[in-house]
């Protein structure tokens, strides 16, 4: 295995939080990504749009290090994710990448509070009490603190997504990746969740990449990246 490489910044140039270069990924019968380039800076909100099957979710999973690209490089905070062994990539994800998937993917056997503390517990660097306090703080900010002792099976779709957002943000990541976070919610619930997610990221100067079909997401983003058949069709800076 090759050694993890570090991206070096030129004087006066800031290192992108996420940098993808000529990334290719294929499923057994389909090429999902064909040479995608993407840079996301700190505090930037990027909406990744495109039709079903265009490679949006795959792009997000590759960026998170959950899928390894067939070729090309993915750097998160200057570290090449694809070159890291699984334990190191997982540790990087726990500390610096928050992940929100469409159905939340909470652990059904754990309480809401335990779910949110998971990234801190798995990292093993925080005391249980301080991890729980931090988790409780995020649940309060996301307006679901009263559900701390509930279990995922008892939550509505919107509540599950808020808990998933709290879990994604609890470790103070520099990059938040969200795959259709409003996909299973009604318009009011989706809008509220989006407000909470975007404001939390902007307040913490976090980079946010949202994969979406939802035009409301594109409306609050700084930039839109549209994919078509695994390639970037166009990029547009939104005002």
């Amino acid at each position: 295995m090759s050694e993890p490489t570090e991206q070096t910044a030129m004087p006066g140039e800031s290192v992108a939080v996420l940098s993808m270069r000529d990334v290719q990924f294929a499923y057994p019968r389909t090429a999902a990504l064909r040479g995608v380039n993407l840079d996301v800076a700190a505090g930037e909100v990027v909406a990744v749009t495109g039709r079903s099957g265009s490679g949006k979710s795959t792009l997000l999973h590759v960026a998170a290090g959950l899928l390894r690209p067939a070729s090309g490089t993915v750097h998160v905070l200057g570290q090449e994710v694809g070159a890291l062994p699984d334990a190191a990539a997982s540790s990087l994800r726990r500390k610096h990448v928050g992940l929100v998937l469409q159905h939340g993917l909470l652990v059904p056997e754990l309480s809401v509070l335990a779910n949110v503390t998971l990234p801190l517990v798995l990292e093993g660097t925080q005391q249980r009490a301080s991890a729980q306090a931090l988790a409780h703080d995020w649940l309060t900010r996301l307006e679901v603190a009263d559900l701390a002792t509930a279990f995922p099976g008892e939550l509505s779709g919107g509540q599950s997504q808020r808990v998933a957002v709290a879990r994604a943000l609890v470790a103070g990541p520099a990059l938040v990746l969200a795959d259709e976070p409003t996909g299973s919610l009604d318009s009011v619930g989706g809008e509220r969740l989006l407000d909470l997610l975007v404001s939390a990221c902007r307040a913490g100067n976090r980079a946010l990449v949202v994969v979406t079909h939802d035009n409301r997401v594109a409306a609050v983003a700084d930039r839109e990246v549209r994919l078509l058949d695994g390639t970037v069709e166009y990029e547009a800076v939104l005002t």
Partner: protein, 451 residues
Amino acid sequence: MSAVLTLARPRTTSDWRRWWLVAAACAAAAVLVLCALRIARYRLSDLVVLGRQVSPYVQDAGTRPGVIVGLLLCCVPALVLLIQALRFGSAARERRLAGLRVAGASQSQLRRIAMAESVGAGVVGAAAGAVAYLALATTTPRISSDILRLVPYPDRLDILAVPLVVLAVGAVAGVCARTSARAVIVAPRRVAGRLPRPLPSSRGWASAFLVALLAVLTIQVLGYNLWPHTGAFVVIGVAVATAFTLTPYLGVLAARRLMRSDDPMRQLAAARLRADARTPGRVAAVVAACGATFMIAVVFSLSVWRVDDNTGGGKAYYVTGAALAGLGALVALAVSVVSLVIAASEQVLEGRRATAALTAFGVSTAELTRAMRIQLGIVTIPCALTGAALAASVMVPLLRSDLRGPLVALGAAALGFACVWVLSVLANRAAVRLVRRQLADATSAENLRTA
């Protein structure tokens, strides 16, 4: 490590069921291993315990190794049950593991969680098995007849053997869990799941074991007088390894054959069999051994019955030995049926949406039960009969003179075959009956909304 231990704690009913199954399998294995070790340590000084003798099968240096190997072979169904138990509740577990992965758990942390879950259950189960062994070894010398007093009274070395076996069995459970824990993937096209293990990967091993079995058999036949016992045990060991690596392919072959049928229920059975050929394969290997053992027990008992007994008690000695072997095979068959039921229940639970859809399209529960009967019987029943046929082909020529005449010999083989057929069909029916409730639950229209 504490996080791993916290996350490894069983929480749901399904987790606890899995825990109990692992513990039960480990308890059975611990009892068998401790009994085998105690018999292996048997000395003439153990001859009289509490004024009573141990069984002649243990006293006789010629039959003692057979008893030990028999007990160790009975660990194989327990191991199959353990492996099956580790897969219990897999759909819910996959969701849980995927959730942990999204939260940042590494693959090695997930493997450690799986290992910690099983080591705990394995150690507790093995400790219970050790208590059962001590109870067995201390009470049977007092209550059973001479011939059935198989386990000698515990000795001082048990102080060492018991904790060692408990730890070893716990470690085996942990290793099985670690090796059976496949990589968890979270990907857009497979929201949550574990990487499937392709079946053909062990085809090389199956061929190698088959060649080794033929080689060992040839050497055993040519040099029987040189190493009669050791050779026989080597043949048994290689035969078990061959059966375990080969039988999953029989599942695949049976599925391919069923798939050609026009009957949709046979096609459904084929699809389910192809989805998991390993489990029926493993069970079929045990069932084949059970079939062979039954055949040997029947033919051997008949041959003993036909021989003139002038020794007084000689017939009882041989017939009881054969009956004990048959009883061991019966227990192994029952454990195998439990393994098969666990696997089938899991499959029904995971595919409950498809089952509910079939019911909605007009497929009756009786038809679905028939598909299940085909799925559970298509590999196991022929394997049981093949095991019986192989055993008959060896035993009948060997005991032809004792059986006095070819017609009696053929009759003995036919009787053995009938016994194995009836038992395997009954086992199949029992397995289907045990899965029927889950199948009926799966047909509920509520499952149409399940993810």
